[in-house]
C-alpha cells in the first residue's frame, strides 16, 4: 500500500492531496525563477499551507470559540453568541480587544526578559507543526527523528513560562513559574518513556513512517499500546497545564500563576498559543496513536488531511471535557502521580513491549500476531492502572459520603469512633 505516493495525481485540482498543488507551484517557479528560489519557497508554502489551512482556523474557531461554547454548554449556560452570527466572530473580537489593550510593565520587572518570554513561547508553537504529517506526502519536514523533535520542541515553552514567571517580579508569578517547571520536567520523563514503547513497535521515529506502519498492520497504536496512550494523555495535559493539572495558572490559588503580570496582546499570545500547543499535542497524539491521516483505507476517497483534522478535534474535545469537569490536583499530589505512578508504569510497559517485539521477530511470526499483542497489552494496561495504586500501598478507605442524621441535639461522637454511611 505505501511506497509510491498513491494519491499524487497529475492534475493539480485533485484536492485530496494538497501536494499536487504545491508541486505545480514549485515547477512553475523552477521554470521562471533562479534555482535556489524553489529551495527557499517550498518550506514557506508548507508552513503557510499548514498554518492557514489547519492551525489558524482550528486554533481560532475550535480553540477559542469551540472551547468556550462547549464549556458553556457543560455549565448549563450559552457561551459566546453575541458577536457576529452565533458568536462566530468572537475570536476575532477577542484579538482586536487584546491588541488595543495596554501591555503594562510592572515596576521592578525585568523588562527584556518579560517581553522576550511571549516570543519564546510562540515560536515553538509554530515549529511543532513542521513534523506532523497531514497526508501521504503532505508533511513539511519528514525528518527521521520526528518523535524526538516533538519532545524537544515541547521543552521550550516550559522555559518561556519560567522566564515569564521570574521576570514579573511578583510572588504569585514566581510560585507559578516554579510549579510549571517542576511539573513539566517530571511529566516529560514519563512521556519520553511512554513514547519509547511506540517506537519499539514501529522501529522508526519518523511520524510519516509510524502512520504507514499503522496502515500496513491495520491496527491503531492506541490498541497496541493502551498504557502508552494513557501516559501520553496525562503527560500532555500536564505539560499544557490544562485542568486537572492546571496548577501553573491555578486561578483560585495563585491568581494567574506566571501570567499574573501580563496584559494586552502579550497575555493574548500566551492564551492563544496555549490552545495552539493543545491542538499540536492533540494532532501528535492522533498521529502516533490514532492512525494519523489514515482511516482503514478510507483515505483514498476522503482527503487525508480532513481525517487528521477530525481526529485532532476529537482528541481536543477530550481536553475540553476534562477541563470542564475535573477539580485541580495539588502540586505534591501531581508530583507523586508523576514519579510514583506514571514512571513505573512506563518502565513496565517498555519491558513488556520489548519482550513482545523480541518474541515477534525471533520466532518470525506473521503480522497477525499484532492483534494478540493488542489484547494482551490492553489486559495488562487495565491490570496495571488499577493494581499499581495498591502496590504502592494506597488502599481507598471507605469514604462516608453521607453524614449521620441525628434527631436530637447534644453530645458528640469522637472522630473515627464510628464511620457510618457508605460510598
Amino acid at each position: 500500500m505505501s511506497g509510491a505516493p498513491f494519491l499524487a495525481t497529475e492534475h493539480w485540482w485533485d484536492l485530496r492531496d494538497l501536494s499536487n498543488i504545491s508541486r505545480e507551484i514549485l515547477e512553475f517557479l523552477d521554470r521562471v525563477g533562479p534555482d535556489w528560489l524553489a529551495y527557499v519557497v517550498s518550506p514557506l508554502i508548507g508552513f503557510v499551507a499548514a498554518f492557514l489551512l489547519f492551525v489558524l482556523p482550528s486554533q481560532l474557531f475550535v480553540g477559542v470559540y469551540g472551547e468556550r461554547r462547549l464549556i458553556g454548554r457543560m455549565q448549563s449556560r450559552l457561551g459566546p453568541n453575541r458577536v457576529g452570527k452565533f458568536g462566530l466572530l468572537q475570536p476575532i473580537a477577542d484579538a482586536i480587544k487584546l491588541i488595543q489593550k495596554e501591555a503594562i510593565t510592572p515596576r521592578g520587572a525585568d523588562k527584556w526578559v518579560m517581553w522576550t518570554a511571549p516570543v519564546v513561547f510562540v515560536a515553538p508553537a509554530v515549529l511543532v507543526w513542521a513534523v506532523i504529517p497531514f497526508g501521504p506526502n503532505m508533511v513539511i519536514a519528514d525528518i527521521p527523528v520526528g518523535l524526538v523533535y516533538f519532545l524537544a520542541i515541547t521543552a521550550l515553552p516550559v522555559l518561556a513560562a519560567f522566564m515569564a514567571g521570574w521576570s514579573g517580579n511578583n510572588k504569585y508569578s514566581l510560585f507559578g513559574a516554579m510549579r510549571v517547571v517542576a511539573m513539566a520536567i517530571s511529566y516529560e520523563v514519563a512521556l519520553v518513556l511512554g513514547l519509547l514503547g511506540v517506537v519499539l513497535f514501529t522501529s522508526t521515529m519518523s511520524l510519516q513512517a509510524i502512520v504507514e506502519w499503522q496502515r500496513e498492520h491495520d491496527i491503531w497504536l492506541v490498541f497496541l499500546q493502551p498504557l502508552a496512550f494513557v501516559i501520553y494523555f496525562i503527560s500532555a495535559s500536564a505539560e499544557l497545564n490544562r485542568t486537572p493539572t492546571d496548577i501553573a495558572e491555578a486561578e483560585s490559588e495563585i491568581v494567574a500563576g506566571y501570567l499574573t503580570e501580563y496584559s494586552g496582546m502579550k497575555w493574548g499570545l500566551f492564551y492563544g498559543m496555549d490552545i495552539g500547543y493543545a491542538l499540536a499535542a492533540a494532532a501528535f497524539g492522533s498521529t502516533v496513536f490514532l492512525g494519523g491521516w489514515s482511516l482503514f483505507g478510507l483515505e483514498e476517497w476522503v482527503p487525508p488531511w480532513l481525517i487528521l483534522v477530525a481526529k485532532t478535534h476529537l482528541f481536543y474535545f477530550v481536553f475540553i471535557w476534562t477541563r470542564g469537569t475535573l477539580p485541580r490536583l495539588r502540586i505534591d499530589q501531581l508530583m507523586a502521580l508523576a514519579w510514583k505512578y506514571m514512571l513505573p508504569l512506563a518502565a513496565i510497559n517498555l519491558l513488556v513491549v520489548a519482550a513482545e517485539r523480541l518474541w515477534w521477530h525471533e520466532a518470525g511470526l506473521g503480522d497477525g500476531i499484532v492483534y494478540l499483542f493488542a489484547a494482551a497489552n490492553i489486559a495488562l494496561a487495565l491490570l496495571l492502572v488499577v493494581g499499581w495504586a495498591r502496590v504502592l500501598g494506597y488502599r481507598p478507605e471507605r469514604v462516608p459520603t453521607r453524614p449521620r442524621l441525628v434527631k436530637h441535639v447534644g453530645g458528640y461522637v469522637a472522630p473515627g469512633a464510628e464511620t457510618g454511611g457508605g460510598r
Partner: protein, 368 residues
C-alpha cells in the same frame, strides 16, 4: 554548623484575590509551598452598622440587617425581629411564623448553593459546579422577588410578622422548585462527593476536633462537620420549628470534605421543612399591627437564629426611646474564622484556599 532556614517570605492572599469570597486578607508566611504562619487582616468592609442603628427607630433598622450578611438577608431579618419582639413582648400570628420558616429555609438553600459552588471553585473544578448551583439559586431568588420585591436584600420581615402576604403564584412555583431540588442535590452529589480528585483535595484538610470546635464556639456546618450535633432550631426552637420533623446532619472527622457533605445534606432537610410548612400553612393574619415609633420597655433581649453559617444572634438594648440604645449582631462567620490559623498552618497555600472555602465566610457579616 549554623543552619540557615531557607527564609520564608510573606505572601498576601490579599484583599483583591479571586478566592477570598470578598474583601478579606490573609498575610501568609510561606516557606516554599508550606505555610508557616497565617494572620488575618479584616475591616475592609466595615460600615459601622451597629453605631448607625442607634440613631434610627426599630423599624428603620430592618434594612441594615439585610446588608450585614447579604447572602442570607431573610435569616438576619428574622433574628432582629425576634429580638425586638422578645423585648417588646409582641405575639406573632401562626401564619406569620409559618411564612417566616419557609423564607428562612429557602434562604438557607440559596446560601448553601452559593457556599458549595464557591467551595468547588476553590478546589479547582473551574466554574462548572458554580454555574449549576447558580442556576438553582436563580429559581429561589425569583421566589424571593415574587414575595418581597427584592432578590438579595429582601427587607421582607417586620416586627410582629412579615411585610406582605404570600402572592397566589408563590405556592405552585415553590412546589415546582421543591419537586426538582432533590434531584439537583443528587446531581451535585454525583459530580463532587464521589469524585476522586475532589476527595483527594478536601479529605483531611483543615481538620477541627469536636473539643476545638466547642472551645472556639463555632456553630453551624463548621460545628456539625466536626461531629457535634448542635442546631439552634432543635436546641432553642423559634417560630414554631418544634412542629416540623427534620434531622440534623453530623459529620465524622471535621475536615473540609465533611463540612461539604453536611451542607449538602442540610439542603435536603430544608426541602423537607419547607414542604411540611407549605402543607400546614395556617390562614389568618400574617402580622400583628405594631406602631411605627415603637417604644419597647427599658431592658435588653438576645434572640438567636440558625443562619446558614451558624448561630446568628441579635442583642438589642432599649432605654425606652424610639431607637435602640445598643444594637449588636453575633456574626457566625466571624467566630467560625477564629480557627483559620490552626486550620491552615502546616498545609500548603492550595490547602489554605480550600480551608477558607470550607468555612464559607461572608465578609459583610465579619466586618459589619
Amino acid at each position: 554548623m549554623t543552619e540557615i532556614r531557607s527564609e520564608p517570605f510573606v505572601v498576601n492572599i490579599g484583599p483583591q484575590h479571586p478566592s477570598t469570597h470578598g474583601v478579606f486578607r490573609v498575610k501568609v508566611t510561606v516557606d516554599g509551598e508550606r505555610i508557616v504562619d497565617a494572620e488575618m487582616v479584616m475591616g475592609y468592609l466595615h460600615r459601622s452598622i451597629e453605631k448607625l442603628a442607634e440613631e434610627r427607630t426599630y423599624t428603620q433598622n430592618i434594612p441594615f440587617t439585610d446588608r450585614t450578611d447579604y447572602l442570607s438577608s431573610m435569616s438576619n431579618n428574622l433574628g432582629y425581629c425576634l429580638a425586638v419582639e422578645k423585648l417588646a413582648g409582641i405575639e406573632v400570628p401562626p401564619r406569620g411564623n409559618a411564612i417566616r420558616v419557609i423564607m428562612a429555609e429557602l434562604q438557607r438553600l440559596a446560601s448553601h448553593c452559593m457556599a458549595i459552588g464557591a467551595f468547588a471553585n476553590d478546589t479547582g473544578a473551574w466554574q462548572t459546579p458554580v454555574m449549576w448551583t447558580f442556576r438553582e439559586r436563580e429559581k429561589i431568588l425569583d421566589l424571593f422577588e415574587m414575595t418581597s420585591g427584592a432578590r438579595l436584600t429582601c427587607n421582607y420581615m417586620r416586627i410582629g410578622g412579615v411585610a406582605f402576604d404570600l402572592p397566589k403564584e408563590f405556592e405552585p412555583a415553590c412546589r415546582k422548585l421543591l419537586a426538582t431540588f432533590p434531584s439537583f442535590i443528587d446531581e451535585l452529589h454525583g459530580l463532587l462527593s464521589e469524585n476522586e480528585i475532589f476527595i483527594a483535595r478536601t479529605r483531611g484538610i483543615a481538620v477541627i476536633t469536636p473539643e476545638q470546635a466547642i472551645n472556639a464556639s463555632l456553630s453551624g456546618p463548621m460545628l456539625r462537620g466536626s461531629g457535634v450535633a448542635w442546631d439552634i432550631r432543635k436546641a432553642d426552637p423559634y417560630c414554631g420549628y418544634e412542629q416540623y420533623d427534620f434531622d440534623i446532619p453530623v459529620g465524622y472527622n471535621g475536615d473540609s470534605y465533611d463540612r461539604f457533605i453536611v451542607r449538602l445534606e442540610e439542603m435536603r432537610q430544608s426541602v423537607r421543612i419547607i414542604e411540611q410548612a407549605l402543607d400546614g400553612l395556617p390562614g389568618g393574619p400574617y402580622r400583628t399591627e405594631v406602631p411605627l415609633a415603637l417604644r419597647p420597655p427599658k431592658g435588653e433581649a438576645y434572640a438567636r437564629v440558625e443562619g446558614p453559617r451558624g448561630e446568628l444572634g441579635y442583642y438589642v438594648v432599649s432605654d425606652g426611646g424610639p431607637a435602640p440604645f445598643r444594637f449588636h449582631i453575633r456574626p457566625p462567620s466571624f467566630i467560625n474564622l477564629s480557627l483559620l490559623k490552626e486550620m491552615t498552618v502546616g498545609g500548603t497555600v492550595a490547602d489554605a484556599i480550600v480551608a477558607l472555602g470550607s468555612v464559607d465566610i461572608v465578609v459583610g457579616e465579619i466586618d459589619r
